[in-house]
Symmetry: C2
Subunit: 188 residues, 2 copies
Amino acid sequence: MEKVWANINAVLIADDPKTFVTRRISETNLEFGGIRGDRHFGITSKADSRQPMYPRGTEILNRRQITIVSVEELDRIAEELGVEAVLPEWLGANLLITGYPELTKLPMGSRILFKSGAGLICMGENQPCTLPGDEIQKHFDDHEKLSIRFVRAGYKRRGIVCAVESPGIIHENDEVQILVNNFKNPMQ
Amino acid sequence: MEKVWANINAVLIADDPKTFVTRRISETNLEFGGIRGDRHFGITSKADSRQPMYPRGTEILNRRQITIVSVEELDRIAEELGVEAVLPEWLGANLLITGYPELTKLPMGSRILFKSGAGLICMGENQPCTLPGDEIQKHFDDHEKLSIRFVRAGYKRRGIVCAVESPGIIHENDEVQILVNNFKNPMQ
């Protein structure tokens, strides 16, 4: 089992009901269900287009509690779009991480562990949709078609979704240990 | 995304506090957390030796709500042990399935969907320990070292653990649809 140290550059919350866009906070308490007050908080959530095997609106287990993106992958998205920067806020991310460049490839079942005892479990890759692209477009009047182009630029760079496995306080600048799940000898 | 039909041969519950061994029931209601009354029921559970990244006894998200084994893999275990049969009860399984022979290889994030609307999500491979082997040994006085030999015989045949993604009634002989997660184009 590979262990990697990484750093939490930012902690963010989507607490404005009018938008999925997040804003930075210095710290938060991870609870079972995620970040209280965030639009994705909950042990359960409603099935949407991402879970077509259930009728839309069905109450299902929420595995998309916390969204994480990496500095390195956002840089590559910005580069491909030809814009100065792509901020985690515009993607609705809850955590911005650095030191694990190919975050989107982190296998399901991997852990992200904080010194407070808080722990996240990776529930898989996030898939790009056009909403973050619409948000990016708002910030770059001199560029065109960023909304559509984001879907391609964000492919396999969009980060991951996690569930809270163990509650606890987390802060910006926390060092975290990533335990990479190895399917040959899988972790439980 | 591969879709496979399979059959639920048995539904079982571990409701005797003195043992992990399960007993057959004709039907049950899957709730968020699993099967009420079963020893693994709960949205959360206590960390044990399977989650060495947390102090033992820490309250963590319960991804081991429902244990599933396949008829085909139990047959192979029995064959390797040289015994007549290995029953799902002795492994503490909650579901016995047939029609998906290499169940243990079912990737994390795959779904098992029932016609009632109930749905399970695969949280990975179960790993053999000596307890089921001890139980198997009790039934075969004329064989030796089944406890230790089970760990090897059960390797990659021990089945999977699941969480309830969508509640609902399930019955023995239910037909289920298995949606196999494909990491190239992962499901959410």
